[in-house]
Symmetry: C2
Amino acid sequence: MIILNTGNGKGKTTSAIGQIIRSLGHGFRVCLIQLFKGESFYGEQKILVKLGNLDFFSFAKEHPHCIKNVSLDKVVSQCRSALEKLKDLSNVPEKYDLIVLEEFNVALRDKFIDEDEFIDIIKRLSQKSNVIVTGRGAPQLLIDIADLVTEMKEIKHPYKKGIQAQRGMEY
Amino acid sequence: MIILNTGNGKGKTTSAIGQIIRSLGHGFRVCLIQLFKGESFYGEQKILVKLGNLDFFSFAKEHPHCIKNVSLDKVVSQCRSALEKLKDLSNVPEKYDLIVLEEFNVALRDKFIDEDEFIDIIKRLSQKSNVIVTGRGAPQLLIDIADLVTEMKEIKHPYKKGIQAQRGMEY
């Protein structure tokens, strides 16, 4: 299955993390590939690296929208590396039960990775693994081929009342 | 803060689980109170019970909509016990950074717990802890007092294509 978590609301990443914990609880093998998530900024990264049965990769740790002075070429090249990693996974017989591709929707939206190539790869991957793709702005072509699509829709958000991002909640 | 995960889509529970993992990663103390979730049916329960800094309680393990021959009186009485547990938490000086109340929206919708009493308790709890409430059909009074509300909205679901619930994905 191909599963998409998209929309402007909270819960796209945390839901994927919860899904990883659920899968690991059943003894399944999981691969997590994160884009734009830094090294140990997010609380979940500190727990995930300690769990067995989970292979965890992080590419393009800084997104140009969030961190100034990041070279666009470098970001594109790191996203390319992430795509090569995915392609490798699709070509080996080794099988994960679940592959989570964090913020790949954003990389597609920003043209850091090629949509057709990405779709070709995850179509093949989804033959042997469940694949979750997260990030706002999922492209229509991806929605079309997905089996399960959820929009996390913001109904009310405290930023609008001036409350700042909290450690443990937003990161 | 009071945070609500509601809507008819996937990700309400898994997002709360991800939020727990995020908080624990920062060394925060978390309390999870689940309703209608059985004992060790959900994969995440097997991982969560092993994590430090998390107190985990489960009440009313069977919901009458899902399990036949469950006594309604028993369910109401167990939901009452969950509410008493919450009231205790609101009255002691001991503090959790995060309290997650799984499927309490459903218990409110089905009148298993009293809305006014629940709202009074979580208003007090939210003075010292972040409180996440999950479940479809969040009542309007709860939406009104919440700081952050996300609707998990189903855009596409494989059940509609006849694909069955998968271990590791839905539970």
